[in-house]
Amino acid sequence: MSAAAPIDPEARFQSIVDAEDKIEPTDWMPEGYRKTLIRQIAQHAHSEVIGMQPEGNWISRAPTLRRKAILMAKVQDEAGHGLYLYSAAETLGVSRDEMFDLLHRGKHKYSSIFNYPTLTWADMGAIGWLVDGAAITNQVMLTRCSYGPYARAMVRICREESFHQRQGYEILLTLCRGTHEQQEMAQDAVNRWWWPSLMMFGPSDSESSHTEQSMAWKIKRVSNDDLRQEFVDMTVPQAEFLGVSLPDPDLAWNPERNHYDFGAIDWDEFWAVVKGDGPLNRERIEHKVKAWEDNAWVREAAVAHGAKKRRETAA
């Protein structure tokens, strides 16, 4: 075999991708593919980690012990999901500390949805149902991503994530079958989280600069607008069952398209939050940096302990 003519690495790479095989860390890959994946996986990992803050906000005020245990398990899952994703990104030659540093200095982004505040207990329901629901729609697609470590992390995350959406829906269902005040609280949460959830899928296809190349590399398998439509179609009947309305007067079934039509997204708001002017952008990063710095002594102690154990073993 060593006598065979050398194969163009880029052609070989694309043929693996086209054959629906996975690219693995030691394979040759175009620099753009590597960079796109690092940016996307890091952003995804940061979202899991920053996403712990809005829900962590309610752990101490969960209405029952059962709800509290569930919420703690969910937040712990988000930490785990962040770790799976940082590990996947590291296989591409970037270190976790480098990614933390970029996040802390505002050079890396995370999902804008986590820059909105969680004002009531019903927000825990709306986040699980809508935010995790939108995330799952995106992540199910990513289980078929061409990069092996990312796709495998997604399989694990999706398996764990369905509990997240179901627990959120159960919270809202309980409120919607409760008192008038509870119903109003549920409706208010849905009103505030609906549009930001639709924005989670990113800019419209016509505005999205990365989509075409990402589709050719099979990093992305479905376009932003198609995923958004899938999410809307799935969610509207679930809202009807709850008995909440979705805050969009243009939302209506279109029998010709066989999809729900929905109103225009406020892209000015979307870009403002992406660029740092959402309700809580500064607080989220400040909190993250503070936690990192306040806990430096734990990391140092662990390293010292590890070094001491190695010396003992060597002695």
């Binding site: 785990g80 270190s95 990391r299 302990h305 590890g306 001491k308 154990k309």
Partner: protein, 110 residues
């Protein structure tokens, strides 16, 4: 586990040194008795004991594991992809497969 205050200057690390003291470990989980350990992912930890504890929290939160191995990533040797290609594409040895042999139908299942 006890925590001993380090007694020499060398352990008082700067933050970036502390991070470098967290090597990467590969995690292998046996889902249940009777199955092989399968690679689940990787994590950073300062020593094997801490790596095992972290692996339990990160990769087996839903009783997915009956046993866990952690191995320093630097201890794993592997083929370069090009060499592996030679290996996998070794052809012309169809006689290693059961389907290569013609057995008359009358013989029945074999």
């Amino acid at each position: 586990m006890t925590y001993d205050v380090p007694d020499t200057g060398e352990e008082f690390l700067t933050e970036s040194d502390a991070a470098e003291g967290y090597p990467l470990w590969e995690v292998f989980v046996r889902q249940r008795r009777g199955l092989s350990h399968v690679h689940s992912g990787s994590l950073h930890a300062p020593d094997a004991e801490t790596a095992l504890q972290a692996a339990r929290d990160v990769y087996t939160r839903r009783q997915e594991g009956a046993s866990i191995w952690v191995v320093p990533s630097t201890s794993i040797s592997a083929f370069e992809p090009e060499a592996a290609l030679d290996f996998y594409e070794a052809s012309g040895k169809e006689y290693r497969h059961a389907t290569y042999y013609q057995i008359p139908d009358e013989v029945g299942q074999m």
